[in-house]
Symmetry: C2
Subunit: 174 residues, 2 copies
DNA sequence: TAGTTCGTTTAGTAACTACTAAACGGACAT
DNA sequence: ATGTCCGTTTAGTAGTTACTAAACGAACTA
């Protein structure tokens, strides 16, 4: 027994909501993206409201957040006051925007504080034995963060994240 | 003017709290790990309580969560009822545990629902044009998730994430 | 037995997050 | 101007999360 298309779409959208929540975003955001992603044409804010069941205010703020992340694009039509939104279909392009959005904010500052700690420890003079131990530990953590950062940069430099590239990575690493 | 070691440690621990929160974990968890990471010897639960200012209940539950993720290890001493905890210093080993912990839960289920959606769409018969469009979109999303998954597996297969390996990746991808 | 000394569990709370409802303001039409 | 049709902003709320305080239970001790 095959289901109605509308039901299937709804399940998909709920799945995206879950995924959204898992990645630390509001679930409504996932639903909005899902609605747009399954639409062949750009949708107006009110149409998104209708299809998600959220209020206009919520959709307004969350669709803008999606736009900042590059997951949706806003457009307008001549002689039409409404804004229209459509989903970005190149996910890889989107996650680069997301990484950029997240970068340079709390995370960078926090990781920078590790670097600061290391500098302060190395500048100290007293308590040589304990300081040596702390320096070693903090240095190891900082190197780890640097490695992660390098990896992220490497992935971001790709112009597409396809099975091909991933398999190339796998090939090098075995 | 160099600061006291205790102050520097405290700043480091607060930095880890921020990082913890950024990654979606409670900040107390980051603080606990920080205290353990800066200690040359395993610490008892009460000692962690003392150094973090959290209550025993909170430390008890969160330190167990850290142990599940492989970020800390629990040990005991003979003729001593206390549990002792120490930080894992091989971060790479830890993130593999974390990935495993996160895997196979909500995320897998949600991603699986995308796969289900695709299957249902392909099993349908009615509304051929719209179905073709939806199939294409959902298929693209699923391929993207598969690529991410492959990449994660690739990274997890490394026995260490050092600059060396990252540079090898960079070399292949340019 | 009763009394310590641990870790765990539970009930309750303060703070935060994702929302809703509704007021608001700008741009256009009449 | 006045009204209408947009998107945005604001005030308030339900639900969640990360905790605290304290009861509990298990393992040893006297």
């Amino acid at each position: 027994m095959t289901q109605k298309l509308e039901d299937i779409k709804q399940e998909f959208i709920e799945g995206l909501s879950q995924i959204s929540r898992f990645w630390g975003f509001p679930k409504g955001m996932g639903a909005i993206f899902g609605v747009l992603y399954l639409s062949p044409a750009p949708l107006s804010l009110d149409e998104i409201v209708r299809q998600t069941g959220l209020t206009k205010g919520a959709v307004s703020t969350e669709v803008r957040a999606l736009a900042r992340m590059g997951l949706v694009h806003r457009s307008t039509k001549l002689a039409d006051r409404k804004d229209y939104y459509e989903a970005e279909t190149d996910f890889y392009k989107s996650i680069r925007s997301i990484l950029k959005e997240r970068q340079n904010t709390e995370f960078d500052r926090a990781v920078g504080s590790v670097k600061d700690t290391l500098a302060k420890l190395e500048a100290g003079t007293s308590n040589a034995e304990e300081r040596a131990f702390l320096i070693e530990r903090v240095r190891a953590l900082q190197e780890f963060f640097d490695a992660i950062d390098s990896l992220a940069r490497a992935v971001v430099k790709l112009e597409s994240l396809g099975l091909v590239n991933v398999q190339r990575i796998l090939g090098v690493l075995k």
